[in-house]
């Protein structure tokens, strides 16, 4: 009798939990509905459009890149001829820093821009996220591929957007997802392979860039005006600068990150 009562109580708890799990879908639908609401888009005149260019310089001693030990996962290890390194800090040969997300943080208030037309892509290749850092528009589709012969799970951990965790079979079809709210940055992790980390910057305008193997960036098509530009790096944090760009002008900005 007592045993039946215990099992009955456990069943009720399980039902309550299941109904609680269902609540999130409704909230998500409402957010997406808001994101789809029609808006008057700001048109930038190509004749007066301005550009911000620059680089993320690196000073000081670059930390030694940590080696990734894939020995516990032969399917991953076999995809590399050499031991891969962590991309947390990538200092280029010209003394600049890669994987810095640069975006216009202030100066565009009240303006809305046409949504992005295409999808951004994020691949899992060699059990590493490629690219390591990407920028997308709020609501823009991110097409996540798995090019590996092993199972991954894609787990973004946002604070303003809804968290999700989705498995992806070997060479399975792409996962198409989006984040409706701006958020810089959203860490992404594969919990199956804990070294796999990536970051997604979600902004509500098209003025962002990520530094590459030359450490440079270019943000084109800006309306002339005063802006706050932020450069974010996963280890060295964020820094910002005020920038004024005149019509049809190009303004250079340099961010400097310091190692130990």
């Amino acid at each position: 009798m007592t045993l039946r009562m215990i099992l009955g109580a456990a069943g009720i708890v399980a039902l309550v939990m299941m109904s609680a799990c269902g609540g999130g879908t409704k909230e998500s639908a409402e957010v997406e509905k808001k994101a789809d609401a029609p808006a008057a888009f700001t048109k930038v005149d190509p004749a007066t459009a301005a550009t911000i260019t620059g680089k993320a310089a690196f000073a000081g001693k670059a930390p030694r890149a940590a080696r990734i030990d894939m020995s516990a996962e032969p399917d991953c290890k076999g995809l590399h001829t050499a031991v891969p390194s962590s991309e947390e800090v990538v200092v280029n040969s010209n003394g600049t820093l890669a994987n810095v997300f640069v975006w216009v943080k202030g100066g565009l208030e009240g303006k809305t821009f046409e949504p992005a037309s295409g999808a951004a892509t994020l691949d899992q290749k060699g059990c590493i996220y490629r690219p390591h850092v990407i920028g997308v528009r709020a609501g823009q589709t991110i097409s996540i591929a798995n090019s590996d012969p092993t199972t991954h799970n894609v787990h973004p951990m946002p604070k303003s957007n809804r968290e999700w965790n989705q498995s992806q079979p070997p060479k399975g079809s792409n996962l198409d997802r989006n984040f409706p709210r701006p958020e810089v940055m959203i860490p992404v992790k594969c919990n199956v392979h804990p070294w796999m980390k990536s970051y997604i910057g979600v902004v509500d305008h098209p003025f962002f860039a990520v530094t590459g193997d030359q450490g440079t960036f270019e943000i084109k098509g800006l309306p002339p005006g005063d802006y706050v530009v932020e450069a974010w790096h996963e280890k060295y944090g964020a820094q910002e600068q005020k920038v004024t760009v005149a019509a049809s002008a190009s303004q250079a900005v340099e961010f400097s990150f310091k190692g130990e």
């Binding site: 007592t2 708890v13 498995s167």
Partner: protein
């Protein structure tokens, strides 16, 4: 039945180790769904899925064993409180499974993950108690001896066990990023102080009681080991802080720290139960002595 209860307690200890491996390897969300794993009972056996699904398999086995133990106790156990403890263990393992599911479905919320870790230790205590009290030795009548001093050893051992349990909660909160390390360090000092006090009391006043000496000895050895593993675990975590993944040295030492914590708690429980069974509190002893004097008069 006693052997089976011992086996259930051992399986529960293995389950705690399996759970510690999940946390230390950051594998808690390697399987995004629950109760199935990747929609099946046999998910791909790769990467961290091995730890998370392995933990689920061991947990299911412990759940089955606990059902069997509860049924066995219901049929064969004459003591009502032991039967009830069996039901409580069964209820705990069900709740524990649900908490494990919530941690997965809600992306490891710290309070739920800490509750999952703490209920695991409480459930282990239940299985250890069942293993102990179903033994033949326990069921034979014990000759009670006086427990001079205040607080009594039974009370002192219970305090030490409570402090160890609190320390395990603080450790779980640290691992799941609910608290920093300061409360865990303070808890270690309190628990170590109470354990040393209880051991001092056993050695000073009950050295002729081999069972009490054995349980206090086990508690002391495990406490020393646990303190060493605690320092080792902290140093290993600091040394590998910048590593791109959980490194084996950190994983093994931290898992050993969790496992030794569970055994320290179990030995604290053993000392508490044995001292309560074998010792008469000082006041009761005095009353008995007075009664004997009255009878003699």
């Amino acid at each position: 039945m006693h052997r089976f209860a011992v086996f259930v307690a051992f399986a529960t200890f293995c389950l705690i180790v399996a759970g510690a491996l999940v946390t230390s390897n950051e594998a808690g969300l390697a399987v995004p769904d629950w109760p199935l794993s990747y929609g099946s009972l046999t998910p791909p056996w790769v990467g961290n899925i091995r730890y998370e699904h392995g933990h689920r398999v061991v947990a299911s086995a412990v759940g089955m064993l606990t059902i069997c133990l509860a049924v066995w106790l219901r049929r064969r156990e004459p003591r009502r409180w032991v039967r009830r403890l069996g039901y409580a263990a069964l209820g705990s393992v069900v709740v524990q499974g649900i908490l494990g599911g919530i941690t997965v479905l809600f992306f490891l919320p710290a309070p739920v993950s800490v509750a999952h870790a703490c209920l695991a230790q409480a459930f282990f205590c239940m299985t250890v108690t069942l293993a102990l009290v179903t033994g033949r030795r326990w069921q034979q009548p014990a000759v009670k001896v006086a427990d001079p001093g205040a607080p009594g050893l039974g009370q002192l051992a219970a305090w030490a066990m409570g402090a160890i349990y609190l320390q395990l909660i603080l450790g779980a909160a640290l691992r799941h990023k609910g608290f920093g390390i300061a409360p865990h360090l303070a808890g270690a000092a309190v628990a170590a102080g109470l354990v040393v006090w209880a051991m001092y009391r056993v050695i000073g006043r009950h050295s002729e009681e081999p069972v009490l000496m054995r349980s206090a000895g086990a508690l002391g050895v495990l406490l020393a080991l646990q303190l060493i593993l605690g320092v080792g675990s902290y140093l290993a975590r600091e040394a590998t802080r910048d590593a791109p993944q959980p490194m084996p040295v950190m994983v093994y030492i931290t898992v050993a720290h969790v496992a030794a914590g569970a055994l320290t708690l179990a030995s604290g429980l053993w000392l508490t139960l044995e001292s309560r069974r074998r010792l008469a509190p000082a006041s009761a002893g005095r009353e008995k002595k007075v009664r004997e004097q009255v009878v003699a008069a």
